[in-house]
């Protein structure tokens, strides 16, 4: 009898503890990530990154190269649980919207950082590609999504200020 009680407590207790962990720690992780993204977006704001396929007129280009920025990111246990509930009723899955948003913006910022670190001044033909990493064990939901941002970095004769 006591054994059965113990097992029932474990069966409810562990997922509940994981939900709470996901809610508090996962929420904090997301807020910190957004703060960091916003801070870096502002810092690299002056770097022109466009998705034109041609170099805008008036830019004199000295050098060009391909640059990449990528990130793999996942949601927490609590959000995955909420998304699972949402799948029953359909409609807007907010928790995955913020996941995609964070991943895309992070990849773009990394692309810009890579461009600056290698001594280039501008980006053209910025493209993004999203892929889903298969979850192991055929488990529930998404293990993680990868966003790759890539573009052609340009070294300009008169760098924008």
């Amino acid at each position: 009898m006591e054994d059965a009680m113990g097992i029932a407590v474990l069966q409810v207790g562990i997922p509940l503890a994981l939900l709470l962990l996901g809610y508090f720690v996962g929420g904090a992780v997301e807020r910190r990530h957004y703060a960091s993204i916003q801070e870096r977006e502002l810092r690299w704001r002056s770097l022109p990154a466009v998705n034109f396929r041609t170099v805008p007129g008036g830019w004199i280009v000295d050098d060009a190269t391909l640059v990449l920025g990528n990130v793999v990111i996942s949601v927490d246990y609590f959000k995955r649980f909420l998304a699972g509930l949402r799948m029953l009723f359909g409609g807007r899955v907010k928790v995955y919207e913020s996941l995609m948003d964070r991943a895309r913006r992070e990849a773009l910022v990394r692309l810009k950082v890579e461009t600056v670190e290698r001594g280039y001044h501008a980006l053209v033909n910025v493209r993004m590609e999203t892929s889903q990493l298969a979850s192991g064990r055929g488990g529930s939901g998404v293990a993680g999504i990868e966003v790759l941002a890539y573009g052609t970095a340009l070294k300009l004769r008169t760098p924008p200020t």
């Binding site: 391909l66 990528n70 793999v72 949601v75 298969a134 192991g136 055929g138 990868e146 340009l154």
Partner: protein, 104 residues
């Protein structure tokens, strides 16, 4: 070797086309990274092990593409594209392709 994902190398002229070159690699996640990632999956956030893994794999695919272009005698690759597909549970193929050209 100069790479770009637009149809030209800005500031240079294309003098000769060599055709499409490509490079790919198939990578599986290792168990250590998988365990770390499944713990990280509880609280969410970046799975750094996977970010690095895919980054390295993509560099490898680019390297293979570059080698192919070099063996053809090209000195640049234009219009480079990437594609990712999952081949099997836990394994992914990273593929890069572009047009090998001679620029001056």
């Amino acid at each position: 070797m100069i790479l770009s994902n637009i149809e030209t190398i800005p500031g240079k002229n294309i003098t000769r086309f060599y055709g499409v070159v490509s490079g790919s690699t198939v990578r599986a996640k290792n168990v250590g990274r998988d365990i770390a990632a499944s713990l990280k999956n509880l609280v969410g956030g970046e799975l750094k092990g996977y970010t690095e893994l895919l980054n390295e794999a993509r560099e490898e695919a680019l390297h293979r593409m570059t080698q192919q272009a070099e063996s053809l005698g090209a000195n640049a690759i234009v219009n480079v594209r990437f594609s990712t597909s999952s081949v099997a549970q836990g394994a992914a193929e990273l593929f890069a392709y572009g047009t090998a050209v001679q620029v001056e």
